[in-house]
Symmetry: C2
Subunit: 393 residues, 2 copies
Amino acid sequence: MSLYTYFTPTKVVFGKGAEDQVGTLVRERGCKKVLIHYGGGSTRRSGLLDRVEKALDSAGIAHVSLGGVVPNPRLSLVYEGIRLARAEGVDLILAVGGGSVIDSAKAIGYGVAADGDVWDYYDGKRQPTACLPVGAVLTISAAGSEMSNSSVITREEDGLKRGCKSELCRPVFAVMDPELTMTLPPFQTACGCADILMHTMERYFNHGDNLALTDGIAEALMRTVLRYALVLNEQPDNYEARAEIMWAGSLSHNGLTGFGTDGGDWATHKIEHELSGMFDVAHGAGLTAVWGSWARYVCRERLDRFVQFALRVMDVEAAEDDYQTALRGIEAMEAFFRSIDMPTSLTALGVSPTDAQIKEMAEKCIQAVGGKALGVVRPLSIQDVAAIYQAAK
Amino acid sequence: MSLYTYFTPTKVVFGKGAEDQVGTLVRERGCKKVLIHYGGGSTRRSGLLDRVEKALDSAGIAHVSLGGVVPNPRLSLVYEGIRLARAEGVDLILAVGGGSVIDSAKAIGYGVAADGDVWDYYDGKRQPTACLPVGAVLTISAAGSEMSNSSVITREEDGLKRGCKSELCRPVFAVMDPELTMTLPPFQTACGCADILMHTMERYFNHGDNLALTDGIAEALMRTVLRYALVLNEQPDNYEARAEIMWAGSLSHNGLTGFGTDGGDWATHKIEHELSGMFDVAHGAGLTAVWGSWARYVCRERLDRFVQFALRVMDVEAAEDDYQTALRGIEAMEAFFRSIDMPTSLTALGVSPTDAQIKEMAEKCIQAVGGKALGVVRPLSIQDVAAIYQAAK
């Protein structure tokens, strides 16, 4: 094992009514004026924005706001946020929403803190050197952006979707009230659960050594999500289940479930990124549509991990040989995805890419990793990635 | 569940040779002169201090040093450290050692950052308002002080041992090289494993609701420690096992294994604190000597938790009734303690308190919690605590 750095500075306040603490949290940081960044009108209609503004007012924090973030958040709104934040002299970006809103807030934070085009950080031209503090009031359990070092932005003119990783953008605080996620439509709840599982699976399937403790934590987290996603499928307003999924979402992507590993595979995420860049599908659904095809394509290279996953997480019976056991685990996960109405093929996702489109997506995948092989379990070429898209049809 | 705050800002650098990063970590913080705080001469003889000093020199960081920390770290050395740190104008306290050294460094950090007697914070007279940054190069896996908000100091003239908790003292970084723990005597290794288990058990046995995810993580952590403590008992230089135990030690006490709970019981720790205050026994051994007696005394009040512990952590077979299953779990843990040569009675600990001494310790326990009942699983009176000491004889 080489050196592993673990850094999770985000102060989490978790529980019913946690959003009322947001003013105190901003003041603790010594900040005075925030840009409230959010998505659609439902954040206003639900009364959440009013409560957040009231909490800020009570703490003597000034605020301006900018809504309109959409899934696969757009670069143009990031530019607008940077202009607004600079004009208004805000010193903290407060994201009120899910991963898209927080990712957009991080991009605004980068853009305000340093000169030049913020897209350069996403396109890999430059590394960020500073970021305005970002805080989050989380309303969707999924992306884990509330404790993570990453954000993903889409440049709408060419559909290019790119991520940027830097310790500078980890939110300084995250307010998590599980009740805020209760009104999510079932499809979005399920997409979130899929994304949470995938963040841990991407790390779990790696090519190096693994700490037994990290494995134990990752397995406990996946079993928890499998269990409570089914509860939410039946009872969307079950507070206990909302709380389990919400905390799982944060731990899944803050580095804990990959501690001491080589970082994980991440090919499935890259493959999905190109899908949702081209077709604007929901991230979680895109992941479940391709994961099984990826897993079957690569599992022989880390049969030990896939067998362990099958037995400890999916609780399948061991088959006569390891490969069959691995396949049973993959099939059990696909069956789970379908049980919460997530697609396990591109057809079920509602997408029918042409061969030319598949070629283009596969090329973009490899381009996004600098022309190198994609993933670590089985390093993938353009042809491999295209084969996975084809198998997922 | 009421609001739960989770805050683990410590930057962890983990793996072989991690100590070479210490200069970079200090410089990243913008600090210029550190007080290196350590224990006995073995830190110098092993070459570790030289490596740390070299790493600081390479990064252009000035340093002075103060050794002599002993287990149950003493207030008089804390005072000496405060004088030295002030005279030398240091801006970071760098602990090189285990929990005692880090606890002592935290106390020095409090003392340098504000006027008045630092003991006031431990005696409960005042709350700390500031703390000089503390960094740690960990050499003993046990106390978890490298990521925790607590420290414990003993005032030697009357043997009073008191803890102080504040978010201000969480180390800003922790350097963890499992190889540094390989030369520990077997007894100290075993004491550390016991302490790590206890930090999770204190949180696991509580009186509120529990997140399934937190339970799953806590159980994975305890199973990991049970497994690798036995490996280290046979192979003290097994790197993999050292790494598992080291990371378990940090996660056991940074808040993760108590996330969403009422905070846990902590009676066993208080009962042990008075024991080691009076007899200067090793903390880990003191804990194992009394835990079984505490557990049998209180388990009927949270049979559900004790049964879950017995089945999921200790892997015992369920008995005919829950109480018997709970007892099997407690006995299995005591058998484990003995298998790593830890005592499960005061006699085995080498301590024979008189009835008067037991009364005095029991009174001090209750005094330490402000005259209220001790613990939450079954809130204990002076008489209850005395009965637990008697049962542990």
